[in-house]
């Protein structure tokens, strides 16, 4: 006898590491409530459904689709369009889908350089034929095809409209559980159209128990260069903690264990560019240039401030670790690719 039909649930994994899936399973026995409330319609990591099954569903058949992973190749993009069409609620789940995350860092280089690093230059790679993946390969039986590797990594919302964004690398299990609980019990969600769910609205600092004093930074340290004091604000000690420019929701997990916040929950409300905001924040806490400026030599002042900033190694990679694909510029520029063509 058929019971009342359950709503349909899907979870998909594009360019990502799989951590989002693990975090989902980290909900513990709450996952059973999800199973009880939903029928799984597509979840390649967990259940054996094929893309063809999804294609055959009527449009809007899936009630809730959690899409994790960035859009790195043509397959990711096709799946994004397909799942958008078949889903009532599409959630950009995790940092990759919502802002590009670690795959998005490759926007600081070219696709060609990425392929070279992976297939040719990596010291642990053994590739004597120097073979690289080709989208089309002719074999006696015909032509075989693999997905096309894109020049630029995109977030999910740069490819299809999303209803909700759930940030985090990965989203914390207790946040996933809270969101699933709200959906199952019918608590109304915020209006769709890209609202953030499963995260806080303040900065990570608000959740961080460290003691915060006036910051006067003389130089910056990379994590391996210093043993931080466990009680005092990490930024105050010259460690580039992203907490001040990052949305809360994780419970300040990293700073609690003496590790700087890397910014995975993304920018706060009203901020378009997490990295640029971090530049502004850092500029306020550097000591150089404070105090009396009477009779100061301008070039000397600029040089001294520049020297402090030089101790902050790799600002783009640090400030945009999770946000590069979703930043204002989205991608680095390369001469001979963009510049010359633009001038032609």
């Amino acid at each position: 006898m058929a019971a009342k039909e359950k709503p349909k649930f899907a979870m998909y994994w594009a360019a990502s590491c799989g951590g989002c899936e693990i975090s989902t399973l980290n909900m513990g026995d709450k996952i059973l409530a999800v199973d009880e409330a939903f029928d799984i319609a597509f979840w390649p990591c967990v259940a054996d459904f094929k893309v063809k099954d999804v294609e055959e569903y009527p449009d809007g058949y899936i009630d809730l689709c959690l899409f994790n992973g960035a859009i790195r190749n043509s397959e990711n993009e096709e799946m994004a369009h397909l799942l958008r069409k078949k889903s009532k609620i599409l959630v950009a789940f995790g940092s990759c889908a919502s802002e590009g995350c670690i795959p998005g860092l490759s926007n600081l280089t070219t696709a060609e350089a990425t392929l070279r690093a992976v297939y040719l230059d990596n010291p642990s790679t053994d590739n004597p034929k120097r073979a690289l993946p080709q989208p089309f390969t002719k074999v006696p039986e015909g032509t075989i095809q693999i997905p096309v590797f894109y020049e630029r990594v995109k977030s999910l919302d740069q490819v299809v409209p999303v209803d909700y964004i759930m940030p985090g690398c990965p989203p914390e299990a207790h946040q996933i559980a809270a969101v699933m609980d709200a959906i199952i019990t019918g608590v109304p969600l915020p209006p769709p159209g890209g609202s953030i769910i499963g995260a806080g609205s303040v900065a990570v600092c608000e959740e961080c128990p460290r003691q915060k004093n006036v910051k006067r930074i003389k130089r910056f340290y990379r994590p391996h260069e210093i043993t931080p004091d466990p009680e005092i604000c990490l930024l105050e000690q010259g460690i580039v903690c992203m907490g001040i420019a990052t949305r809360a929701g994780c419970g300040a997990l990293c700073p609690r264990v003496n590790m700087r916040c890397e910014g995975c929950y993304g920018p706060l409300d009203g901020v378009e560019d997490q990295g640029a905001n971090m530049v502004a924040a850092i500029a306020s806490v550097v000591e150089e240039g404070s105090g009396s400026l009477a009779g100061i030599d301008e070039a000397e002042l600029q040089y001294r401030i520049g020297a402090v900033m030089d101790t902050l190694v790799d600002p783009a990679g640090t400030f945009y670790r999770f946000n590069m694909a979703h930043s204002l510029l989205m991608r680095a520029r390369f001469m001979g690719d963009g510049a010359e063509k633009g001038a032609a």
């Binding site: 080709q134 640029a276 963009g338």
Partner: protein, 158 residues
Amino acid sequence: MDNAYEPVIIGFLCNWCSYRAADLAGTSRLHYAPNMRPIRVMCSARVEPQFVLKALREGADGVLIAGCHPGECHYVDGNIKALRRYELLKRMLRQLGIEEERVQLVWAAASEGNVLADAVNRMTEQLRRLGPLRWRETVLGEDGHMVEHSGEKVAKEV
């Protein structure tokens, strides 16, 4: 290069010094390049790095930030904060493939109309040599110009 190319510079000028310097340049009838689009801000420290990035993405070829000389800020040390931001932003922009000449910080007091005019002239000339930026078209490929990786390109070079 397109002969018709004229660089567009977004100028963020502080209310107390540099905007008045621009005013003075005008009332003194100084002739200088018409490429800067001035935007008055209360202080050079009002210029968030986001403003600069957005200007560059939306079609500016360069951004000029102008403020009071160090020690002369109306808000005591706003210009020093702007300088710190600029020094860090400059290093980040380098990684993003944006030439140093495209984002500049100059100090121009209210009496230095000529200093501001010279800075605009110099920057316009530098940007003419660099060519247009056209971020959306050439870097983001929004008119389809950015070549998606096809595989063959790499294979041939190896």
